[in-house]
């Protein structure tokens, strides 16, 4: 009995705290102006009109109510409403105290923006919706409480059977289709999906670049490059289980190879794009070998930190005075010439989009084939249990090196394209944060599989671009999303599955697939 009241209130307090935090970083103003834009109003000032600010509070209240109602799962709608209302009230009371505080600041004309940077007077005024402090605070309280109750009500409705009935037909439809697909036998089903997949991919790759403008071409291109990087790192981390943190160093090597061979400064070599591309890949692979040779004894986080060090070393050296004549130091290397194809320049955003699409396809192809082969199995065995792998006759050192070199080669490819697309590369492009991004994307996507890597690349490179509307809050939101993604899908968005083999015995009719339950 006590709990039934206690829990919603607890949730309410959490939401209240969150609300205060969001207000303190001005998040509400941002959301409000987004709403205003969405409703077609021009917002030229930093602060949108009061109704929108109120709308933000209402949304938060709704969410709070729904959350509370879900937690204390009641059968009857009244119960849900009560829970929602309680939580809203709690959240409101926290906000109330806060509002009284800032209201006091406002009425005494105390400016603390030097410490809490958003609390300008008209912002406070906005939070209080233009009302005198106490009234404004009460208004906030009221709004939150009401919204909470409404949220509870909504949840109650969702729970009640009506909505389910609406869902029925859809469910039925999906089920039936999946059933149909299931009824197709393995090979045919696979084929059907592959055809569909290829068709869609073709549509995406061929038509979109032409007609969605340079910006989205650029973003998609970046995503593509990170897919290549992700696949490369997946060879190392996902398959052979070596945690490498300085991966971007190989990317840098590829980029700088391209830059040095194809820019007027410092050497004016101008070898052309394609040879530089090949060399970039080769150099990156060699770097992988050289790094690997002394370190193959290290495992887990020791390898991680050493490779991290390697990455930093490369970056600092490229930036340092020592190598300035060679690498341009902090200035990097500018106007790198783009590729040419059959004599005509091949460097518009669309051309690059195609180039990258092809490279991604190539990378995925190679990765996929390596995955299901003797080396692939050897890597997996190393990841699982190095000692046992060695006892099975796997030369672990050699295969770890192979993984590192191949992974590095992927990075080299991506780097070379990257440099010539931006026509610029500098040391700060290859900071630790970039390595971390690549690692995050393969884990967010799901370690060791191609679709996961693609999805992860979208999540990590596409999302921040889509979050541009959030202006200064995009990285904040991004960080939060990263945590949430991990909490909700620890195995990654698309967990890996083991391939199924068709043993000869199965061919003899003894169908193994049914018997085992994996």
């Amino acid at each position: 009995m006590k709990k039934t009241y206690f829990q919603p209130i607890q949730i309410g307090f959490i939401f209240g705290a969150v609300n205060v935090f969001l207000v303190l970083i001005g998040f509400n103003a941002m959301v409000a102006s987004l709403l205003a834009k969405a409703l077609g109003e021009q917002v030229l000032t930093a602060l949108p009109p009061f109704p929108y600010l109120a709308a933000f509070t209402i949304l938060l209240g709704l969410w709070c109510g729904i959350a509370a109602a879900r937690k204390s799962s009641r059968a009857r709608i009244a119960g849900n409403v009560l829970a929602g209302w309680l939580s809203g009230l709690a959240a409101g009371s926290v906000t109330f105290v806060f509002c009284v505080g800032i209201g006091w600041l406002l009425s005494n004309k105390i400016d603390i923006r030097n410490y809490l940077t958003v609390l300008s007077f008209d912002f406070i005024n906005g939070v209080l919706m233009g009302l005198p402090p106490l009234v404004g605070a009460l208004a906030n309280l009221g709004i939150l409480a009401a919204a909470g109750a409404v949220g509870g009500l909504l949840y109650g409705f969702i729970q009640s059977s009506k909505v389910k009935q609406i869902n029925q037909p859809i469910l039925a439809l999906t089920c039936s289709t999946t059933e149909k697909l299931k009824r197709l036998d393995h090979g045919r089903r696979r084929l059907a999906f592959q055809i569909l997949g290829v068709a869609i991919a073709g549509a995406v790759v061929i038509f979109l670049p032409l007609n969605w403008g340079s910006y989205w071409n650029y973003v998609a291109g970046t995503v593509g490059l990170y897919v290549i990087l992700g696949l490369g790192l997946n060879l190392i981390v996902g398959l052979s289980g070596q945690l490498v943190l300085g991966y971007i160093a190989f990317f840098a090597i590829g980029a700088y190879t391209m830059a040095l061979l194809n820019s007027p400064l410092p050497y004016n070599l101008m070898w052309g794009f394609w040879p530089a591309l090949v060399l970039g890949v080769i150099f990156a692979a060699l770097a992988g070998l050289l790094l690997g040779l002394p370190l193959m004894r290290l495992r887990g986080d020791y390898l991680a930190i050493v490779t991290l060090g390697f990455g930093e070393i490369i970056r600092i050296l490229l930036k340092s005075d020592v190598l300035t004549d060679f690498s341009g130091g902090p200035r990097g290397i500018q106007n790198i010439s783009g590729p040419t194809l059959f004599g005509r320049p091949f460097n518009s955003d669309i051309d690059f989009m195609y180039l990258i699409a092809i490279s991604v396809a190539l990378a995925a192809f190679v990765y996929n084939r390596l995955q299901h082969s003797r080396p692939g199995r050897a890597w997996l065995s190393i990841r699982e249990d190095e000692t046992a792998a060695r006892a099975c006759g796997v030369n672990t050192t050699r295969y770890k090196l192979l993984a590192l070199a191949l992974g590095a080669a992927f990075a080299g490819l991506a780097g070379a394209i990257y440099a010539s697309r931006n026509q610029f590369t500098g040391p700060e492009e290859h900071s630790l944060m970039a390595s971390i991004n690549v690692l995050s994307l393969i884990i967010v996507g799901g370690l060791g599989n191609i679709p996961g890597t693609i999805l992860g690349a979208f999540a990590l490179k596409g999302l921040p671009e889509i979050l541009r509307e959030f202006s200064n809050y995009r990285l904040l939101t991004f960080g939060a999303l990263l945590v949430v993604m991990m909490l909700s899908r620890p195995e990654g968005l698309i967990p890996s599955k083991r391939p199924k083999y068709k043993t000869p015995q199965e061919a003899d009719g003894r169908n193994a697939e049914e018997k085992n339950v994996s």
Partner: protein, 427 residues
């Protein structure tokens, strides 16, 4: 089952892409002679009937016109690092720009707005932002980018789109030597203040043994190099050249090494944060008697607050500022009022931000024409040349005259020093 998952992922990609695609305009607005009309505030459609009231200039202009219906806003873009380690520069400069927009008011009833996008200061971000701006037909000019890396990657894209740039702070020398038509800058570059600083050190202060430090950024490094070169050319001796790691707060090791060479003066190319630390730590590392000589990056109010007594007798070179003009005072007041901080506490480029934006808006006003259909026409090609031909534009941090390659801050520097806890003109 893998194939299925691939399929799902591709579907997801497709939907996501198309969804995003819907938001900004896809048109490449600026093919020569074309007329792109802005409907609403940020989506463009080329419509023939708009050609009715089109003034002559648009058909002749190299990049065509941006067209604004009454009630539309004219956008000035700014690509700046708003996240990551250097966000303070982005915040500061964009805030300066915001005030500039407010001050420069309307033009024939058309409002201006500053659109700030986060480029993180990197080439990747710079190119992304540049592409975003390039695909927005309502955007006529870019005050930026802030960091040279981002700028390098952005220039070719604006070049193609015919959008004029006026960077408040990108100081990399080679930016203007690559023959870009659209890129200009009002930042006070290495080439401008380096050699004079060296001469001042050698002749006025009679320094013969100079230690040169820089913060490893392209700005500081370039500056240090020019100074060192000039100083040796004058016959002085550069006893040691060291680079420090930006963003750290303990440089005693470097300074100890410098002290061992006992120089008469330490020249530092970099910003206030590191400069102040160096000045303070010079006092504990046996460099008590060496003169600290900084640049426009180390000049500023917070240099004084950070160094206190240690800062006495420090020098700096700065762009010739019209000695606290009323405009400047007004700006500082407005900045403090709006953002709750003294101007220049976040970065030394506040005033440059203001100037570049107001200069751009002035240029737009000078070339824009209102067609007899009441629409506003901004010929992009004309705008580009207008900015390049900027002459004697009186900003609050200098008087700007752009030369043939787009260097707009070409006056010799003035020298200042700290005396009794205040910056005063040096003798």
């Amino acid at each position: 089952m893998k194939a299925a998952r691939i399929f799902v992922v591709l579907m997801f990609m497709f939907m996501m892409m198309t969804a995003c695609n819907a938001a900004p305009a896809a048109a490449e607005p600026n093919s020569p002679g074309s007329v792109t009309e802005v409907s609403g505030s940020d989506s463009a459609t080329t419509s023939p009937d708009a050609a009715a009231g089109t003034p002559e200039i648009c058909s002749t202009d190299a990049h065509g016109c941006a067209v604004f219906k009454p009630g539309d806003v004219v956008k000035i873009g700014m690509g700046a690092p708003m996240t990551g380690g250097d966000a303070s520069y982005g915040f500061d400069i964009s805030q300066g720009g915001t005030i500039a927009v407010q001050d420069s008011g309307e033009f024939e009833g058309f409002k201006f707005v500053l659109v700030v996008e986060d480029d993180g200061g990197t080439a990747e971000g710079g190119a992304a932002v540049a592409n975003k701006f390039a695909s927005d037909p309502a955007l006529v000019a870019v005050a930026g980018h802030i960091y040279s890396g981002a700028t390098s990657a952005a220039i070719p894209i604006y070049e193609k789109a015919g959008i004029v740039m006026l960077s408040p702070s990108a100081s990399l020398p080679t930016l203007t030597t690559l023959g870009s038509a659209v890129f200009n800058r009002i930042v006070f570059t290495d080439a401008r203040q380096g050699p004079p600083a060296a001469e001042y050190l050698f002749n006025k202060l009679n320094v013969r043994k100079l230690a040169v430090l820089h913060d490893g950024s392209d700005y500081g490094k370039g500056l240090a190099e020019t100074v060192a070169a000039k100083f040796t050319e004058l016959g002085g001796e550069v006893v040691i050249t060291e680079a420090i790691t930006k963003g750290e707060t303990d440089y005693t090791p470097v300074l100890s090494a410098v002290a061992a060479k006992n120089p008469e003066s330490v020249y530092f190319g970099g910003y206030t944060a590191e400069g102040a630390v160096i000045v303070n730590q010079m006092k504990q590392t046996g460099l008590e008697n060496a003169i600290f000589f900084g640049d426009d990056g180390t000049y500023g109010a917070d240099f004084l607050s950070r160094t206190g007594a240690n800062g006495e007798g420090a020098f700096a070179t700065i762009a010739p500022i019209p000695a606290d003009s009323p405009e400047k005072a007004a700006f500082d007041a407005a900045y403090l009022e709006q953002f709750g901080k003294e101007a220049g506490t976040l970065s030394p480029y506040t005033w440059n931000g203001y100037d570049s934006v107001s200069a751009l808006i002035a240029a737009v006003k000078s070339v824009a024409v209102v067609g007899n259909d009441g629409n506003l026409y901004v010929p992009r090609g004309a705008l580009i040349s207008a900015v390049r031909n900027l002459t004697d534009f009186h900003g609050i941090s200098g008087t700007y005259t752009c030369d043939a390659v787009g260097e707009c801050n070409t006056l010799p520097p003035t020298f200042v020093m700290v005396k009794d806890g205040a910056w005063v003109p040096a003798p």
